[in-house]
Each structure stands twice: as C-alpha cells, then as structure tokens.
C-alpha cells in the first residue's frame, strides 16, 4: 500500500525536553505518590496507595463520560449523579434477591450475581441518560445557566424517584464473598476489593484510550471536543455522536455507582450528589474534555485524599479542594487542556 509507504518515511520530530514538558502532569502524580514515603513506613504507604488508586479509579469511571459530554457539546450536566445513584440502586435490586449467591464460597456464583447486576445497572443508566438528554438537555443547548438549573432539577427529581421506588432509608449491601477480606503480600495486607477496583478502572481507561486513539468514532469524538463545527463541515453529524457519548457516559456512571456502592457497602438516594463533588473536582483538574486528564486527576484526588486522611485527618476535609486550587493556579485550563476552538 502506498499509504504505508508514505507513513514509513514519515518522521516524528519532537525534542526530548518538549515531550517531557507534555508529561509534566504525570510526573507530578508520581512525585505526589512517592513523597509520602518519607513520612510513613513502606507498608502503610503501599496500603494507602492502593486505597487511593482504588478510589481514584472509581471516580474516573464515574467522571469519564461527563468530561467527554462537556468537551463535545459544551454541556454542563449537573444531573450526572442521577446515573450513579440509579446504577447503584438497580444493581442492588438485582443483587439482593441473589444474596445466597453473593455469599456462596464460589467465584462463579458470585460473578453470576454480580455481572447481571452490573449489566442491568449500565444498560438502565444508559437508557436513563438517553431520556435525560432528549427531554432535559436538548432544549437548552448553548445556554449554560439553563443547563445548570435544569440538570440540577433533574438530579433532584431522580433522587426523589429513588426514594419513591426504594424508600428513604439507606440499603446495606454486601460484597460478593470472593471480593471480601484481604490478602497478604510480604508483610503488607491489601484489601481485595480495592485491587479489583484498580484493575477494572485500568481496564476501562485502556478501552477508552484504545477507542479514542484507534477507531474512527474515537477520532471523531476527539475532533468534536476540539471543534465540533468543523466535524460537521466534514460531513459528520455531531449530535448523533453526542447522544452516543452521553449514553456511554451514563452507562459508565452506572458502573461507577455499582462499584462505589460495593466499596461503601451501602446505597443511599443522595450518593450520586455526594460523589459529584469529587467528580467535578476531577474533571476540572484534568482539563474539561480530556479522558487522560480525567484519569490523572482522579488518581491525584484519590491519592491525596488517602495520604492526607492518614497524615493530617483535619486537612483531609479540604485536601481535594486545596488540590484543585493548586492545580488551577499552576495550569488554569487543567492538567491536560484540550485545544478548543
């Protein structure tokens, strides 16, 4: 193929220093992860790092769709928390009747209860996302104030709907037996569920990265985040793309809701609204519209919350807000700003 001939002779030229500059945010994350070693013993650091990464991965899963929705269509969706709550409650509705399977000493029975719960949560959260976009967001394209008001209203209605359907009390939830407890590596004890959360988060990030970099849909999403008008001028319908991203983002929020509920071992109607604070911090730190930024921001938030919680519990209450302030003073557009027209 002549295309490959053409590409084979292509030259990628970027000075080493410039490339390092581009990686500065990732280097900062590594630095922040390594610095606390000086203030604690290694086993504590390892446990806290895993806890921070697990928390970060769950927030990343919840936030990744929202950052793309903002980047692609400039839509401020404060109702994203509704998909998190609904995902958690729908999964709970599937898992509770299957409690014997959840408690069975068999990984297959555990998965037989968990996987359908996740599938239902993601499918229904995606469907809810579609309805949310068509009914609430479509009429307010281009008007940020109305978007904030109507999506906040949507979130409140969704929460009240959960109260009507499942009652006002929090519902305790048990993790599948396989994911309960901990395992020991050397003299360090790690919680199993946190490791699983990290693995799932990394998988979601890898899949999203592959889609965004290797598929035409992914290229369209990245191009649309940068300049939607030009994507339309090339002959693509950005509205359809946006609806697809909105549904996928809602489904991911549903998955994040399930993971968060299993992490907290309880579901409450306002859990989505509570987590949204962290979700917004993450997408602002990461750079609105950037999935990589969202990932790095989530890791930062998770690590800082856990290190601060151990080293200075009082500071932990404001650690993420302080982190956001510092990052924005350093990079006002976030760690990985998307070039927007």
């Amino acid at each position: 193929m002549a295309t490959s001939e053409a590409t084979s002779s292509a030259v990628r030229t970027a000075p080493l220093l410039d490339r390092l500059k581009g990686q500065a945010p990732a280097l900062v994350v590594i630095l922040i992860a390594l610095l606390p070693i000086a203030l604690m013993d290694l086993s504590t650091w390892l446990v806290l790092t895993l806890a921070g990464l697990a928390m970060g991965m769950m927030i990343f899963i919840m936030a990744s769709g929202l950052t793309l929705v903002f980047g692609l269509m400039d839509v401020l969706n404060f109702g994203h928390g509704a998909f998190i709550s609904f995902g958690a409650f729908l999964a709970t509705a599937v898992m509770l009747p299957l409690t014997p399977w959840m408690e069975a000493d068999s990984v297959w029975l555990n998965l037989a209860a968990l996987l359908p719960a996740i599938a239902v949560a993601m499918a229904m959260a995606g469907a809810l996302g579609y309805v949310f976009e068509r009914v609430l967001i479509m009429p307010v394209y281009g008007n940020h104030l109305k978007q904030i008001l109507i999506t906040m209203g949507g979130l409140i209605i969704a929460e009240q709907l959960i109260v009507v359907l499942w009652g006002p009390d929090e519902i305790p939830l048990i993790r599948p037996l396989t994911f309960q407890g901990s395992f020991t590596l050397g003299d360090v004890t790690f919680e199993k569920y946190r490791l699983i959360a990290v693995i799932i988060g990394l998988l979601v990030f890898a899949v999203l990265s592959l889609i965004l970099s290797r598929t035409k849909i992914g290229l369209l999403i990245r191009a649309g985040v940068e300049n939607g008008e030009m994507v339309e001028a090339l002959g693509y319908r950005i509205r359809r793309l946006f609806i697809g991203v909105f549904i996928a983002g809602s489904a991911l929020a549903g998955l994040g809701g399930v993971m968060w509920a299993l992490y907290e071992e309880v579901v409450t109607a306002n859990m989505g609204m509570q987590v949204m604070v962290l979700v917004f911090i993450v997408i602002i730190i990461g750079g609105l519209g950037s999935v990589t930024g969202c990932f790095v921001g989530a890791v930062l938030v998770g690590l800082v919350a856990n290190y601060a919680g151990f080293l200075a519990p009082k500071v932990a209450l404001v650690s993420n807000i302080a982190l956001m302030v510092i990052v924005l003073m350093w990079r006002p557009q976030g760690l990985f700003p998307v070039a927007k027209r």
Binding site: M1, S9, T13, R222, A223, E226, E229, A233
Partner: protein, 258 residues
Amino acid sequence: MSDPLVRNSAPMASTVPAADILLDLDDVHTHIEQYHILQGVSFQVPRGQFTMLLGRNGAGKTTTLRSVMGLWKVSQGRITFDGADIGGAATPDIACRGIAYVPEDMSIFSDLTVKENMVLAARQGEMDDTRLNWIFDLFPALKKFWSLEAGALSGGQKQMLAIARAIIEPRELLLIDEPTKGLAPAIVGAMIEAFQELKQAQTSVLLVEQNFQFARTLGDSVAVMDDGRVVHAGSMAELAENVELQQQLLGLSLDAHQ
C-alpha cells in the same frame, strides 16, 4: 440597481449555460443575531472554474461561504447546488453533497496527528493511495510530518493540511477562505502551484481572497462584495485588465496588496 458600484451584476446568468452552473446564490440574506450581514447576495459559480470572491474586510465574504455551508442559517433567498436547493440543509448534509470547506482559521484538529486529520476527512473509508501520493507531491511537508500532532505544524503547513483535508476525496466544490492570509511569500508561491494543479484537474473552487495578485493568477471568474452585497461579477480577465474598475471596486485593499 441603484448602487453606482454595481456593474455587470448578473453576467454569468447570460454567459454560462445553466447546466454549467454548479452553485447559484439568489438574493441571499443572512442575519447574525440582530445584524443583517448578507443583504441580497447573488452570484454563480461555474462548474470546473476558480471563482474568486473579493472585497474589503467586513464585506460579507466569509459569511457567504458559511451560509453556503449551512453554518449560518439563510434568512431569505435561495442557494442551489448542482440543481438542488441547499438553503435550509444541515451542514453535514451539505458536506455530503460534495462541498468541502476550508475556513479562514483552517480549523485543523490540533490534538490529532496529520494522518488522523486526513483519516477523518476521508469520509468514504480508506484513503486512496494514488490521491494521497498526489497530495504529498503537492504538499511534501505533510508526508514528512505525517505522524506529528497537527498543532505542532507551522502556519503554512496547517494551511496545507486544511486544503489537503478538503481534497483527500474528490469533491464537487471547494470553498476556501483566505488561504494566503498570514503566509510567507514562499509559501504563497507553493500554494499557487498547488492550486494550479487543482485548476488543471478541473476542480470547482469558490475562493475568498484579499490578495488581488493571487486572485488574478488563479481566477477564471470573480465576484466582488461590498457591504453585504455583490457589486460586481464577471470574468477575472476583464477585471484584471481594467485598473480603474479595480480601484473603484477594491480601493485600498487592492493597493495594500499590490
């Protein structure tokens, strides 16, 4: 018309057979918010020719291209492309009819590589190798920086990419907005050579330009705009020969670029 500047206001209607008219704007009005920008634009773009759209800053040239592309909604009048009314059509539909657009700011996707920009522009699937090599011959820099992020290209290279994106697949009509703006003379020279190749390939182009020398070199026909209207339309050769008419129509902008 009462406007003293208007000359030969609809010459192509009489000189170009209807079948050879690719794009026809008839009394097009466009409002942007409360501003009445296009106030009855009428001209035609013949098939297989380079039509130059000239005029001072703020005359409405860019708005005309954006209105054709559906990026501004036409409030009155008719835009016909290849016999079909595209006045109220959505931008993607207009693009799919075979119109490619190169905006003034080039609008390349900075975070995507040169290759990824081209992949997106190739709407029908895989890029055609022969055509790609032809583009590489026109713009060798694109081959050199094929895997580089487009945001790292120079201004001239970005312009080359923007034009390459428009021609990666055969299009019926190219709308190109000020391709020489801010470019060094050497790059403008390369651009002229590239456009001359397109011209030889009988590509239909509507090109907005303020550089009259550039326009004169390439143009077959010309429409001159002022204050939201076409005040002259005709052959480029006629305008190029008539210095008085040039000064009357283009005034200071002509002097500035000569």
